[in-house]
């Protein structure tokens, strides 16, 4: 098992190499299977990495022949191991689902490019997650922005290119701000390795109080733009609405989360929570998160387009995560990490369902979804599971994350925010439940609908069914994962 220490690096290498093999291959089918099999291999390696971490604890991995301050490092702890399992397995499910939807949504000559970009995207996200070198993280951020813009514009339609350019400009702005934040840190510490930066920061924190505020502020806004924190989320609805549904699922469930995880790493590893608590930034993050929870839901309520509604719902859920980080206590961080997992499962399923529905009824409008529950009962059944999880009904993953958020709020003595949490949940119910009610009930809605007439094949439904089971599993027994998250948080 000693070889398992090499697996994180191997995962990144396998994904990059396999994604560059794809343009050389001639047949689209071979490309699809290569993509899926490489991601599945990475799932296995991630699970083995978690097993290794459970045996030996968190470890640093030297990349190449040089020791840390000169060479690069990866740091793999519980957080990275859990998240890499989540990232790779959700990516595998989305890839499997895209086998059935890509032909409908993407032109044939672009399909190869799409899978190449997906592989690159996943590899760079895992790079952000693993790397213990902050500049290396920046390189992976740039790579992931290019790949993410690529999977938005891959559909090659007018509105896609508009959304893609908007995303490209805003996410370049975000990575520019991150780079400036890194430059400030480098100028006062002289290091790029996260561990060494922290050692130096502890020594010089009193000398450079304002520099630290500027630096952390730049990180907050930069990574906030990239992960769609509330007031700077404006690229997200367009990009998610017009991208192919499998790309939207990848963007919403994985891409946003990698930047948030990097933000967690910056707060807890680079600065250290003791230093961050002397700065006013976390309070701002808390308020932005709370405002995002409410306004994201209100904006979602106003939408007429299914995918746009789900996209605004993402803004609200990202608000929850930033809210948890902003609370600044261990429970808040745990709730945020748990919500990252539960939201990734739920939102990827929702986007895949939206893709299935749009493919069958050829319309994105919510008003056309009436009676769809009779025609596509399994798809809508999974939609119900996801919607109830989003609202926070017990037995579903969303309830556990909201429960943890509530505990964290009580722990931090800011009881008023419970009202925000409840209000946001009620708003979630307001925009998800009417869809479900109109889809199943109402005499006019269900008249002349043929049972199962528009359902997709079982193979195409498999990913969303697995996601639904995962949501219910997380809802019923979340203790194992909460324990792992607690271990990961205590070793940050």
């Amino acid at each position: 098992m000693a070889a398992a220490a090499n697996f994180p690096l191997l995962i990144i290498l396998i994904l990059f190499l396999s994604s560059f093999m794809m343009p050389v291959l001639k047949r689209v089918k071979a490309v699809k299977w290569l993509s899926l099999s490489s991601i599945l291999l990475c799932v296995v390696l991630s699970v083995l990495t978690l097993a290794y971490v459970q045996q030996n604890g968190a470890f640093l991995y030297k990349v190449g022949h040089f020791e840390a301050p000169w060479g690069n490092e990866l740091k793999i702890g519980y957080l990275e191991a859990i998240m890499s399992i989540m990232f790779t397995s959700i990516a595998a499910l989305i890839t499997w689902a895209s086998f059935f939807s890509a032909d409908y949504e993407i032109k044939e000559k672009n399909i190869m490019l799409y899978y190449t970009l997906c592989g690159m995207l996943l590899a760079s996200l895992l790079g952000i997650l693993y790397s213990n070198d902050i500049f290396n993280c920046f390189v992976f951020i740039e790579l992931s922005s290019i790949a993410a813009c690529g999977i938005v514009v891959v559909k090659d339609k007018k509105e896609n290119i508009k959304a893609g350019v908007k995303y490209l400009i805003l996410s370049s702005l975000g990575s520019g701000l991150v780079l400036m934040g890194i430059a400030f840190l480098y100028s006062i510490t002289g290091n790029l390795n996260i561990g060494f930066i922290h050692q130096e920061l502890v020594k010089v924190k009193d000398l450079y109080h304002n520099t630290l505020i500027i630096s952390l502020g730049l990180f907050t806004v930069g990574l906030g733009v990239k992960s769609a924190m509330f007031p700077v989320h404006i690229w997200l609805p367009d990009a998610h609405t017009y991208a192919p549904s499998s790309s939207s699922a990848l963007l919403s469930s994985l891409v946003l989360k990698a930047y948030i995880l990097l933000y967690i790493k910056i707060i807890y590893r680079v600065f250290g929570i003791e230093i961050v608590k002397t700065l006013p930034i976390l309070e701002i993050v808390l308020v932005m998160g709370a405002v995002g929870m409410i306004f994201g839901s209100i904006l979602a309520l106003l939408q007429k387009d299914l995918k746009r509604m789900i996209a605004y719902s993402s803004v609200a859920q990202i608000g929850y995560i930033f809210f948890g980080i902003g609370l600044g206590n261990i429970l808040g961080l745990m709730a945020a990490i748990f919500h990252i997992i539960s939201h990734a499962l739920t939102k990827s399923a929702l986007f895949l369902i939206a893709g299935n529905i749009i493919e069958r009824i050829h319309s994105k409008e919510i008003s056309r979804l009436k009676g769809i529950g009779i025609e596509m009962p399994i798809t809508l059944g999974v939609f119900v599971v996801c919607a109830l999880s989003m609202v926070g009904i017990p037995l579903f993953a969303g309830f556990n994350s909201k429960w943890n958020f509530a505990l964290a709020i009580i722990d931090s003595n800011r009881i008023l925010f419970i009202a925000v949490l409840v209000a946001s949940s009620l708003l979630n119910a307001l925009y998800y439940l009417p869809i479900i009610i109109n889809a199943y009930f109402g005499e006019e809605n269900t008249k002349d609908r043929v049972y199962m007439s528009k359902e997709k094949s079982l193979g195409a439904l498999l990913p969303i069914l697995i996601l639904a089971f995962a949501i219910i599993y997380l809802g019923i027994s979340s203790n194992g994962i909460i324990d792992l998250i607690a271990k990961s948080v205590s070793n940050l």
Partner: protein, 139 residues
């Protein structure tokens, strides 16, 4: 550009440009230069060829597929070599390494030479692709 003078001079100059580019790539580990600068020069020679030969329906055409294949194979080569180096370094494996050779010779410097060649090919075709993309919108 339909210009007989430019074309005739280009015929003479392009081979020298290419040889100079290859020289810079192959001596990247010994002297200033390397994959990136050499690749740029090689790419420029391709662009110049396209500029002056296009109106005359040149026999040598670089297809999109060829560009993709050359770039991807070089990327894979680079990834394999560098990945091998990373894994053997990080995992402390005592596997066989490319011999370092005598300093000053072309065949020395371990992996630097093949890595430079891979980078050179990638940069060469990327520069060429950029030019054609901005010129025509496709390769």
């Amino acid at each position: 550009m339909k210009d007989a003078l430019l074309r005739e001079i280009g015929k003479v100059v392009i081979p020298f440009i290419q040889i100079f580019g290859i020289y810079i790539i192959l001596n990247g580990h010994l002297s200033p230069g390397g994959g990136f600068s050499g690749g740029t020069i090689l790419g420029v020679s391709l662009i110049m060829h396209k500029l002056i030969e296009e109106p005359y329906k040149s026999r040598i055409k670089i297809s999109e597929r060829a560009v993709m294949q050359f770039t991807c194979v070089s990327l894979i080569l680079y990834g394999l070599l560098k990945g091998y180096s990373f894994i053997t370094g990080g995992g402390e494996f005592e596997l066989l390494d490319i011999p370092l050779g005598i300093p000053g010779r072309i065949l020395s410097g371990g992996m630097l030479l093949p890595l430079n060649v891979a980078v050179g090919i990638i940069v060469c075709f990327t520069i060429y692709t950029f030019y054609t993309l901005f010129d025509k919108g496709e390769i």
